[in-house]
């Protein structure tokens, strides 16, 4: 057996791959479910916090900044573990899936709040004044004038952050979530062969490459002619 053959037999073993393909596929479903939930709830919460922050109510803003800084500094793994193993002492027992979802959603909320906020503050003060001078209210100005400009600026950093945090679904393995990496590593231990890990890697590519391409499309769409 040549070195090449041994390499292929180890990392791309057809028999092993075929056997564990269904597991990887079911892992993909779990990862997609988690990812969609995290992205939707994380971004919605982040945008909501940024909007509340724009009201400039001081005690509320201190609270928002504290929460955001907290979730930005803690490693996501720590949050997942605390939630899964800690909350049961408070008579709440979230599943591994729920712990992973909520933890990563909080992290995404924190990072996206900062990004949305930066976008809102980057819109020139004159835009507010022009809109308010024609009689639009604070809320109407925010929605019709400021947010469309702010969101356009936030799309590149937001996509990067969203992808990075969504990949964190792999951390769910530590609390027994059967997502891609979880399925792949148990397949590796059962088959004594790392091929399932390669399939896992391929599964991540299949999931995330389209997201990156979509993000690029959005950037073009939101770039108005200067």
């Amino acid at each position: 057996m040549s070195t090449w053959d041994r390499f292929v037999d180890t990392f791309f073993n057809g028999k092993v791959m075929l056997k564990y393909l269904p597991d990887i596929l079911s892992g993909m479903v779990v990862t997609i479910e988690l990812a969609v939930l995290i992205v939707l709830s994380g971004l919605a919460a982040g945008l909501a916090l940024a909007l509340v922050r724009s009201l400039a109510i001081r005690p509320l803003n201190w609270l928002i900044i504290f929460i955001v800084d907290l979730f930005r500094s803690l490693p996501p793994l720590v949050i997942i573990v605390l939630m899964y193993f800690g909350l049961p002492y408070a008579e709440i027992s979230p599943s591994g899936f729920v712990s992973t979802w909520l933890s990563l959603a909080f992290v995404l909320m924190a990072f996206s709040e900062e990004i949305f906020w930066a976008g809102i503050t980057s819109v020139h003060k004159g835009q507010w004044e022009a809109s308010r001078s024609t009689g639009l209210s604070f809320g109407q100005t925010l929605i019709n004038v400021v947010l469309p400009q702010a969101l356009r600026l936030t799309i590149p950093p937001l996509t990067n952050r969203t992808i990075a945090i969504t990949k964190g679904t792999a951390l769910g393995t530590v609390v027994a979530v059967t997502e891609i990496l979880g399925e792949a590593s148990s397949a590796v231990s059962n088959s004594y062969n790392p091929s399932p890990l390669m399939m896992g890697a391929a599964a991540y590519l299949v999931l995330f490459l389209p997201v990156v391409v979509l993000a690029r499309r959005l950037e073009t769409k939101f770039a108005w002619k200067r």
């Binding site: 004159g126 022009a130 809109s131 001078s133 024609t134 009689g135 400009q149």
Partner: protein
């Protein structure tokens, strides 16, 4: 003066320790064009911005078209429709077309349907000579055109008063004329206008009254000829002398 349409009395404005307006009285009659001049930092822009409450005066009273602007019960968003404002830096919404800029407040504040707003928007763009630029975004327009769209955005709401805050200061010299021309036609249509600007030529032949401000106070006011040819105050003389040397 008959009942003034703008009646501001004893306006004071503090920015922290800075006393920017030190008790300004300004009454403007209907159809009058008042020019406000003065050195930078004299408070003329702040005065203008107090009139539609973009700045909150520290004290004083402001009544515009019978509406007490400083009364907390006044619906300020409603009142602001009657007071158009044009800014030095145009402040067009870059993500909308010229028509979109003009129709936003028509739809959201004046409650017009999209079709009706579009009709009024086109009419306003026509008045500023930009009927053929309705679908252009601000980035595709010259500075002069952008400022005219900004004027259209204000006049589309049929305001009772128009405030101009250095409307030509950010423009290249060759583009100033087109904006002044629009302002002149507005004046001919009987619009009440308060203009903060350094366009002395325009002031001379279009203004009814020139107000000279310095250090947060109105120092002197009168017909353009009187202010420019025979100013009575030393500070006015010095300022007029300075700008006429250029």
């Amino acid at each position: 003066m008959t009942k003034p349409i703008v009646d501001a009395r004893a306006i004071h404005k503090h920015f922290g320790a800075l006393h920017v307006l030190k008790g300004v009285d300004l009454r403007v009659a209907e159809r009058e064009l008042v020019f406000v001049i003065g050195p930078s930092g004299s408070g003329k822009s702040t005065l203008l911005r107090c009139l539609n409450r973009l700045e909150e005066p520290s004290s004083g009273s402001i009544v515009v078209d019978g509406i007490d602007m400083l009364d907390p019960r006044t619906d300020i968003n409603h009142a602001r429709q009657r007071i158009g404002m044009v800014f030095q830096s145009f402040n067009l919404y870059p993500h909308m077309t010229a028509l979109g800029n003009v129709t936003l407040a028509l739809r959201k504040v004046a409650g017009k349907s999209r079709a009706e707003a579009d009709r009024l928007g086109h009419a306003a763009l026509e008045r500023v000579g930009l009927a053929d630029r309705a679908e252009h975004t601000p980035g595709q327009l010259s500075g002069g055109q952008q400022q005219r769209v900004a004027i259209a955005r204000s006049i589309a709401l049929e305001p009772r008063v128009m405030l101009f805050d250095e409307p030509t200061s950010a423009l290249d010299p060759e583009l100033v004329g087109s904006v002044l021309e629009v302002m002149r036609s507005l004046r001919e249509s009987g619009m009440t206008m308060i203009v903060v600007s350094h366009e002395m030529g325009f002031a001379r032949n279009a203004a009814d009254r020139v107000v000279f401000m310095d250090d947060g106070l109105i120092v002197e006011q009168g017909p353009p000829a009187a202010i420019f040819e025979t100013p009575t105050h030393e500070r006015t003389r010095a300022f007029i002398g300075q700008i006429q040397r250029h």
